[in-house]
């Protein structure tokens, strides 16, 4: 095989690998990333996820490519000398591949800190909702900043109704065993642990119905412990809140 021939084969192989990767993001946007984020908390998580996964995919292509290339390029073939050069290491290279990953990780950590407030901090004017988790359902009681709904527990136990564009802070409790409140499109999940109060928050930027389910194994009904959050317009919310008994 001539050098030019080899080069052509290499270019063809690289194209065959890279082209699908360039086209893949569009096709895979939904399977390779979190559910369409519907508010600032889930947006921040989505952004950090994309930064991390983008960086790691580049690393995977480089390192995996180096591995596969070495495996093919340096496989034993007749006519090659049997005894390859006996290299015992290279301090410069080894320091290099110690320091470069450290720098990459520092960069990812820095970006995470930058995005952190949106994930963690519920605004002080948030509507407060107390969540009670028990085998095998979630129920909700409205608290501060919830207008006419304050102090009320809707009888439709599994559906939480909240207004759009309003920050909602969840104070989560558990009655029997540990559970976990998770609605992927809205925000970070949070464990419900007996004897403790844990919190999370979300703000939905548009109306709609969002689904989730318990994410901490809690017994035989775990798989069916559903969560539904119905986000309604401000006027619909006033009607709903006023109608609660």
């Amino acid at each position: 095989m001539t050098v030019a021939h080899r080069l052509r084969t290499l270019v063809a192989a690289v194209t065959a690998v890279v082209a699908p990767l360039m086209l893949a993001p569009a096709a895979l946007a939904d399977t390779a990333t979190p559910e369409n984020p519907a508010g600032p908390a889930s947006h921040a998580i989505d952004d950090i996820y994309r930064a991390v996964i983008g960086t790691t995919m580049v690393i995977f292509i480089l390192v995996g490519g180096w591995l596969v290339y070495s495996a093919i390029r340096f496989r034993a073939r007749p006519g090659r000398p049997i005894d390859p050069p006996q290299m015992h290491g290279s301090s410069r290279l080894e320091w290099g591949w110690t320091i470069v990953p450290v720098l990459i990780l520092v960069g990812l950590a820095g970006y995470t800190f930058h995005k952190l407030p949106d994930v963690k901090n519920a605004p002080s004017d948030s509507m407060v909702v107390s969540v009670l988790a028990q085998q095998f359902q979630f129920s909700y009681t409205y608290g501060g900043n919830s207008g006419a709904a304050q102090g009320k527990t809707p009888s439709t136990a599994t559906t939480l109704v909240v207004p759009e564009n309003t920050p909602v802070k969840l104070e989560v409790h558990a009655k029997d065993v540990a559970h976990d409140w998770w609605v992927p499109a809205l925000g970070p999940k949070v464990d419900a642990i007996p004897g403790q109060t844990t919190t999370t928050w979300f703000r939905a930027d548009h109306t709609g119905t969002f689904h989730g389910q318990c994410s901490e194994f809690c017994g035989v009904g775990h798989a069916t412990m559903a969560i539904t959050v119905k986000v309604v317009s401000a006027s619909d919310w006033r009607t709903y809140a006023g109608g609660l008994k």
Binding site: G89, V177, P188
Partner: protein
């Protein structure tokens, strides 16, 4: 230049020792114990794998009801427990038992009878745990993590049998670990300095220290759980942060456990890659330092399993940074392996194929580990199938690719027969395809909201991922079956193995296959981490 087939070791007297059933039951020979360990752990591997197939059948499509939720919970609990405690950890002891004394030029382990005790305790502990399936009201059903209050409220005695069984297995692992430490630090042949012991021996040493440090945490946590369940204590009562205390204790053991499993797997790869690349390890010292660094850092990262429990932000930041830090020495290992292959003369015998497949799959698991270490992302993916995908790419690629690679590598030494090469290569490809088909779609399941440990699901969007995973699981099962058939057939029909079929570097290849009960008639001088390579070079120089 060195040619093949030089420095044939002196023929060792082939004395097989006593034979027959009782000679195996009563044996204290580290090689026989190693083989019995291997048979025991492979038995548990197959039973854990069958449980996984049952789960994949149940999850094949939405709203399936082949298996009830109650049975499903017991099956996934015992699948995790089996794979972690009865297979992946002790299978390292199987290879450690067989190979470590040979690699360091020793006659046996430091405490042969203690060694036999750890083998039989492992089997006994496993039987106690499994006995829940036949009496006591069903096997454990609270997950391999056994979180209270769920594990305290579980009726019947399944959880109690699980705790007692784990205690027995833990004692087995700890006394085995003490034995490894004593052997490696006291039984080395003259010239076998710590700076010359093979990487696999280094990783078994760190593995053993980690077992001695980490497993008592589990024993303490489980003892309190047992007392809470049966004798009215309230260590884990709600209201005193009891449930969280258990999680801290469990993961302070549980994360070191991941590296207890991983390090010897890394050690196997570090043995296989240089032999088949015909080069020394690239950066032996860096690999040793990376092993020790991983062993140390592994004790500082446990909180990343608990990001969602309402942990304070500074603590989340700490656990994120320590978890990211562990990626650095792990990266060093991967780079040094590929550096070893670079410019080599790589022979893709089955062990080398498995090693290459391992590096690639472990790379995926390591990189998704950065995603789960970043705690805001973890607050999305934790307890979802994304995490299931991640830990199978890490904890699952070790048994499937590193351990089975090690099996293909050392089988000729253990049995005196070669495995069928063509079948070995085919089984690698079946396993490689099956593994990725099973676990890769799980990333997508988690990202689209599927929690782990669900006995069923109603969201039909998840069907396609689950169907691919179920198909993959059966392919994986066929691959494991092919390996087992190869192992059994080759016992009788395999080509007779020479002492050194691979042109190995380490002392186990200096003695006959299988070695005599006393291991070595004589030992070569040991001047580097590759004494057999030195011998070949000397012989070539003498002829030139």
């Amino acid at each position: 230049m060195v040619t093949e087939a030089v420095a044939t070791p002196p023929a060792t007297g082939h004395a097989p020792g006593r034979t027959g059933f009782w000679s195996w039951v009563t044996t204290v020979d580290h090689k026989r114990i190693g083989i019995l360990y291997l048979i025991t752990t492979l038995f548990f591997f197959v039973s854990g794998g069958l449980m996984a197939l049952a789960m994949r059948i149940q999850l094949e499509h939405s709203s399936n009801n082949v298996i009830s939720a109650d049975s499903y919970d017991r099956i996934f609990t015992m699948h995790g427990t089996t794979m972690v405690f009865l297979f992946t950890v002790p299978v390292m002891a199987a290879f450690g038992n067989y190979v470590v004394p040979l690699m360091i030029g020793a006659r046996d382990m430091a405490f042969p009878r203690l060694n036999a005790a750890s083998l039989w305790l492992l089997l006994f502990g496993g039987i106690v745990m499994y006995s829940g399936f036949v009496w006591g009201g069903g096997a454990a059903d609270a997950g391999w993590t056994g979180y209270p209050p769920l594990s305290e409220q579980s009726p019947g005695h399944g959880i109690d049998l699980w705790i007692v069984g784990l205690h027995i297995v833990t004692i087995s692992s700890v006394i085995g670990a003490i034995n490894f430490i004593c052997t490696i630090h006291n039984m080395r042949a003259p010239g076998m300095r710590l700076s010359r012991i093979p990487l696999f021996v280094w990783t078994i040493d760190v593995y053993a220290f980690m077992i001695v440090l980490a497993l008592p945490l589990l024993s303490g946590a489980l003892t309190m759980l047992l007392l809470d369940r049966n004798y009215g204590t309230s260590f884990y009562a709600a209201g005193h942060y009891g449930p969280i205390l258990y999680q801290h204790l469990f993961w302070a053991f549980g994360h070191p456990e991941v590296y207890i499993v991983a390090l010897p797997g890394f050690g196997m790869i570090s043995e296989i890659v240089p032999v088949f690349s015909r080069k020394p390890l690239f950066g032996y010292r860096a690999l040793v330092y990376a092993t020790v660094a991983i062993g140390f850092l592994a004790f500082l990262v446990w909180g990343h399993h608990m990001f969602a429990v309402g942990m304070s932000t500074p603590l989340q930041v700490w656990f994120m940074l320590t978890s990211m830090a562990i990626a650095v020495p792990t990266g060093i290992k991967i780079f040094n392996w590929v550096g070893t292959m670079w410019m080599g003369q790589i022979r893709f015998e089955p062990p080398m194929l498995f090693a290459t497949g391992f590096i690639l799959t472990f790379l995926i698991g390591g990189l998704s580990g950065i995603a789960v270490a970043t705690f805001p992302v973890d607050l999305y993916v934790t307890d979802s199938y994304f995490v299931v995908a991640h830990f199978h790419y890490v904890m699952g690629s070790i048994p499937v690719f590193a351990v089975l690679g090690g099996l293909h590598y050392w089988y000729p030494k253990m049995t005196g027969r070669m495995l069928d090469r063509a079948l070995g290569i085919r089984s690698f490809w079946v396993l490689f395809v099956g593994f990725n088909l099973t676990f890769f779609p799980m990333h997508a399941m988690g990202l689209s909201g599927m929690p782990r440990r669900v006995a069923t699901y109603t969201n039909t969007d998840w069907n396609v991922y689950n169907q691919i995973a179920t198909l993959g699981a059966f392919v994986l099962g066929v691959g494991v079956l092919m390996v087992l058939i190869n192992c059994l057939r080759s016992l009788r029909y395999g080509r007779i193995a020479p002492a050194d079929p691979w042109r190995g570097n380490t002392l186990e290849w200096y003695t006959s296959s299988p070695p005599p009960p006393h291991n070595f008639d004589s030992l070569p001088p040991i001047r580097s981490e590759r004494p057999l390579d030195d011998l070949r070079r000397e012989a070539a120089a003498a002829r030139a």
